[in-house]
Amino acid sequence: MDTLLSAQERDFARQMRQFYRTEIPESLRFKVATGQELSKDDMVTSQRILNRHGCAVPHWPEEWGGQDWTAVQRHIWLEEMQLACVPQPLPFNTSMVGPVIAAFGSQSLKERFLPDTANLDIWWSQGFSEPNAGSDLASLKTSAVRDGETYIVNGQKTWTTLGQYGDWIFTLVRTDPSVKKQAGISFLLIDMKSSGVTVRPIQLIDGGHEVNEVFFDNVVVPVGNRVGEENKGWTYAKFLLGNERTGIARIGMSKVNLARAKAYAAVTKTARGTLLDDPLFSARLTKLEAELTALEMTQLRILSTQAAGADAPDPRSSVLKLKGSQLQEDISELLVDVLGPQGLDFVADRVQAEGFSDLPLGAVDALPAYFNTRKVTIYGGSSEVQRGIISKALLGL
């Protein structure tokens, strides 16, 4: 797709490519490229390097570390980052709470939080979903009752990704139970070291510990930790979720994973040659390549419309989420299927004991990734929510 870019854009892509490959340690990028789990330190290291070079939060306002980049440049920044297998900046910091504080927070909140958020000196967790507020997020029940200059928070959040590392959590809380559900919500920042905050791990079917439940039991939060106005939290949440949807197609990552499936298949023998020559496997893979290309073109078309001056969030980004997440899942399945029977065990290491042969490449991460990737059609607005948006906003149904 490089040929679609202007000369300056191509130069910019070259710079980004070189920057990622020279400044981000090879060992970190190798971990991402081979699907290994990243430690907290890995993610912090990567984000601080990015931040030092102005590449952690380019979409933020310039005075808080952002860059005066075009939509196309921001696309290149992210795409090249994924292609280089660079651990991405923590989305809770850079795509979610940061932009909300920058847009709606008080000057003191900005000064207090934005630099540390960009540099991952503060690790943010997301406190939106609740056991009974998933796709219907606005029905959340966690309450914040005003008591002088503080709120007393009670309730439970769930699906808090990497909450075990969290320093702070940004939450949606109910500050007015008497009005329409969207109208009584506020956006509150809570120190996770506060008394009454408990984080409990949730075991997932992929065998890992990625998400948590977070309980709030009479947690005292200063009113000054509220972002924006009281009961306007839903507006800020919609702003945040809109940011979440762009880039959620993860096309660069999918390319890397497809290339991986292809490379493994080429060295995997079957009764009739290599797996890459197998007609049905190759047909599946080839169709995914074509579909991924279609999705990439859709993303570029949306970018091109933005570049031509359209500012409003594009409802077509729901198509990106819908299709992009499905492709991620399909590709994760391909990576399992390459392995055959050896893809069915949960294993910690490819290297077995002395005298035993190594497990095939990809054997450690394919199965956990397959089960983990089931989440992508659920989070960030499930596929069903996206279809609802498309049928309403684009088809008028």
């Binding site: 890397v256 490379a263 493994y264 007609p279 290309t293 279609a294 859709t298 279809r387």
Partner: protein, 397 residues
């Protein structure tokens, strides 16, 4: 990066759309479809007057000297109106073959007539039992010199002139029912060649057919029919390029037809009432309509991808041109199938009738996804070409 249509292209598209809305509506089309020839020579004259027939033909031969991008705009508009006249056969396949392979004299003899609407062309490549293969026709070309006393057409040959005759049978010749000139593939001395044959010459006979979509085709028999060589470029390359361009053209047409199909379907879902409410209030239908929209975006993206591939002028673009067109057609075929089948289903019984237009769109889309190749063999071909993504795994390389 700029993927938007230019002002001229937008103007072309909107003025053509305006014309088709008023002069080529459903009742006009029905009358044309029911006529003996199945096309309107009057409409053809109007297209010529609008300059549509020679859009991509160089100005020195009476054309407008524009590019395929403008042709794609026309095809998309024709797709919305389901235009029946042989634009694809004459202005795309035929004219491109003559432009690419004709001598100066041949171009002067043929192209001005095409541009002014007095000549229909047809590309005769396919043969019985060979599906979409164009590489090795059974049709043969034989050269004899007049001095050897062999038959010529008796008017043009003089002593020492070489005369060529064709022998063989072609099938599924798009626009072959009305063509004045055929561009024919044939083998001579083991080499693929392209030849120009006058439809009224001796030794040429044809049987006209109608495709499911109403477009005319023909089986054509050449029995020692006199022909001229079209050999100012290697035939195999010309055929490949002409077919790639024609494929890109029907993808643009398919986008127009799919867009209209989805619009009609969404309108129907909003207005058709059952059980006391519009059927579009059912989530089952909303979500399926949303999937149709996602398919339409895929199709738009890949029609654009194909258009860019055949208009690219960068070096080494040729190898990628065919690969990209193949990838695009795989996606467009799948989306055409999806949208055409779903649009009939969602219309219910009325979608099965000749009276209601949705079925006509489905018919054209059904034919397009089987024109110049189908998704299965294209998928096999793309795999054979190595696909779109280079195999790469960090732990392998």
């Amino acid at each position: 990066m700029d993927l938007e249509l230019s002002d001229i292209q937008q103007e072309l598209g909107s003025s053509l759309a305006k014309y088709l809305r008023s002069e080529y509506d459903q009742s006009v089309r029905e009358a044309i479809l029911g006529s003996e020839e199945g096309i309107s020579r009057e409409q053809w004259k109007s297209f010529a007057e609008m300059g549509l027939l020679g859009l991509a033909v160089p100005e020195s031969y009476g054309g407008a000297g524009m590019t395929f991008a403008e042709v794609a705009v026309v095809m998309e508009a024709f797709g919305r109106a389901l235009v029946l006249e042989p634009y694809l056969a004459t202005a795309v396949l035929g004219a491109n073959a003559v432009v690419a392979a004709g001598t100066e004299e041949q171009k002067q003899a043929i192209l001005p007539g095409v541009c002014e609407g007095s000549v229909f062309l047809a590309f005769a490549g396919y043969e019985a039992g060979q599906r979409y293969s164009l590489d090795s026709p059974a049709t043969t070309a034989t050269t004899a010199t007049a001095s050897q006393g062999l038959a010529t057409d008796g008017t043009t040959a003089s002593a020492g002139d070489a005369s060529v005759t064709l022998h063989g049978e072609k099938c599924s010749v798009l626009g072959g029912d009305v063509a004045d000139q055929f561009i024919v593939t044939a083998v001579e001395d083991g080499e693929l060649g392209l030849f120009l044959v006058d439809a009224s010459a001796r030794g040429v006979s044809r049987i006209a057919h109608r495709q499911a979509d109403g477009l005319g085709t023909a089986s054509v028999l050449f029995e020692d029919a006199p022909a001229q060589r079209l050999d100012s470029a290697p035939a195999a390359e010309v055929v490949a390029e002409v077919l790639d361009t024609a494929n890109a053209a029907i993808m643009a047409e398919a986008v127009g037809a799919m867009e209209t199909s989805l619009k009609m379907t969404a309108d129907y879902l909003r207005t058709r009432e059952q059980f006391g409410a519009p059927i579009g209030t059912n989530q089952a239908l909303q979500h399926r309509a949303a999937d149709m929209y996602a398919s339409l975006e895929d199709a738009r993206s890949m029609a654009l991808f194909a258009r860019l591939a055949v208009t690219a002028e960068s070096e080494g673009a040729e190898k990628d041109r065919h690969r990209d067109v193949v990838a695009a057609k795989i996606v467009v075929d799948g989306t055409a199938r999806h949208i055409s089948q779903e649009s009939i289903q969602m219309h219910g019984g009325i979608g099965m009738t000749m009276e209601y237009p949705i079925g006509h769109y489905a018919k054209r889309l059904t034919v397009i996804s089987r024109t110049f190749d189908d998704a299965d063999s294209l998928t096999a071909e793309l795999a054979q070409l190595g696909g779109l993504i280079e195999p790469h795994a960090a732990d392998l390389n």
